[in-house]
Subunit: 314 residues, 2 copies
């Protein structure tokens, strides 16, 4: 196989958003530099969340200002509202902006209400306003949360998700992420959804953002890959998670572990463009930063066929 | 979908073999009864290993004598050598035998030498002797370990595995298990292997016995399912593992977690024949027996679409 995929490393934003351990800005900058060293072309760096609401990212501008800038490495920042985009623009004007912004909607009213404290209609108005502000200055990534199931409503109509993807495309975003926010996707649901979305919007890059809440994360990534997906989000150590999981006892983990995803893809002959030794070094540094063992299995077991001479020589 | 699969619950043998915690025979009997209550049609109960070499199973006969016997529930015991089969026959003659015996070979010389302290040639002679002793008294399950990769030799020639399966079939075993003993399989390797084996031996039931050492266990189970496999081994809590993993720092986990496998299969509309509430109760009892949190994600997060009314009502 000569397939090539792009993995966006989400440790520093999705991963840290609900961590109790506060990671200092200089540690984040050092980690993000290690991610760039390992070869990630897309890295989720921070969020322009309200500093009082999400104190973990009150250092957003400092982190972006401190990052090493390299050709071929795009840093992403999450923007929950137009005020956030204004901050992103100010940082960009000051010479240390993000390269990409992500703009979020949720596929259900209940999740929009509880997670974003608004309605879907108002959130779409906010997204339109954000796109107007940001257009031409950043690569824009639309995100549809709870695309494969909602912790409050259960089943999500795939037709609604396809409409949301189309709406993002009509607003002019560059790519759209489908989030399995609380690990409710299955391989067949993933194949069905990617089939529908690529039929509705051929050529639009769709990012698989899967959580491993129920252990199915990698199986769902394989289903996405088989459906033509070439963009994945994951987090070193599999950290991350969602407040609903914590509040409703649905476990704490987390994004698909980057180490485990890379091991599977590279063992299948899919090129991630990453340096496996540097990736493992970055994995260890993430565990050091949080002061505990994280959730990646490959971080414990080492790489499989991808990283072993006795497989490659055969 | 109306697919139906059979899961063999391996907690009490593969799961406990390398556990430091000693589980008393009465606890094992109670757990095995809970597995039968949950609806498992095949349950790995114990091993006739040498009592000094594997003290965890020195109670093999006591456990088998104490088990509840039910129509449609087959208990399996592992037999490493002809002496073990003689013990199994004595228990059967005494009225409390196993229903199935598993007979092991490894696909590589290195693994045979280090794990079974013999050669492949001698082990095949031992297997032939075991089949002669056991034929007609038990359902026989041939097992090919390290079928997808060897911790010592790396890549394993799929042709050797197909030959091993054929050899088991010629000896007259009823089903053959392919073991990914240290988590080196990938979905495409699984599809390739199941394709080869079913072409060589159409109609022979092949059991997918995958370990989650590198997080790919469920992705590999999906690949097996898509290749026509309808028999799976897994362990509640994902316990288990292999001495080589411990000795060589390859992590400790373990079989695919039954809870996570059942969640994925049932969420896909595949019928496991299991009662999900009783399965979760058995899961909790396994954690109590070992006195610690085990590795299943679904044990923490709860069932996804399979176990939720808000999905089923949609």
């Amino acid at each position: 196989m000569t397939d090539r995929v792009t993995i966006c490393e989400c440790f520093a934003r999705d991963g840290l958003q609900h961590e109790e351990t506060e990671v200092p800005a200089e540690t984040k900058i050092s980690l993000l530099g290690a991610f760039a060293d390992a070869g990630f072309a897309r890295i989720e760096a921070t969020s322009y969340s309200h500093p009082q609401r999400v104190p973990a990212f009150r250092d957003a501008s400092d982190v972006l200002a401190g990052l090493p800038r390299r050709d071929g490495v795009a840093y992403k920042a999450t923007c929950p509202n137009p005020r956030a985009v204004e901050r992103a623009l100010a940082d960009l004007d000051a010479g240390h902006g993000a390269d990409e912004l992500s703009l979020l909607v949720s596929a259900t009213e209940s999740h929009t209400e509880r997670n974003m404290r608004t309605t879907r209609e108002r959130q779409w108005e906010a997204v339109a306003a954000m796109v107007r502000l940001a257009a031409g200055r950043f690569r824009l990534v639309g995100v549809v949360s709870v695309a494969f199931g909602c912790p409050f409503e259960g089943r999500v109509d795939p037709g609604v998700v396809v409409e949301d993807v189309a709406r993002f495309a009509e607003l002019g975003v560059d790519m759209v992420t489908l989030g399995d926010t609380t690990g409710l996707a299955t391989p067949s649901a993933v194949k069905d959804m990617f089939g529908r979305v690529s039929a509705a919007r051929p050529g639009l890059p769709i990012v698989a953002h899967f959580h491993n809440t129920r252990g199915s994360g990698l199986a769902n990534c394989v289903a996405a890959l088989e459906s033509g997906c070439r963009d994945f989000d994951s987090s070193l150590g599999g950290v991350g998670g969602h407040p609903a999981q914590i509040q409703y006892g649905e476990g704490l983990t987390g994004n698909v572990s980057t180490e485990d995803l890379v091991n599977l893809l590279e063992s299948e002959g899919v090129d991630t463009g990453l340096d496996l030794d540097k990736l493992m070094a970055a994995s260890r540094r993430c565990e050091q930063a949080l002061g505990r063992t994280l959730y990646s299995m490959v971080a414990r077991a080492g790489f499989g066929p991808a990283g072993r001479k006795e497989f490659q020589d055969a």
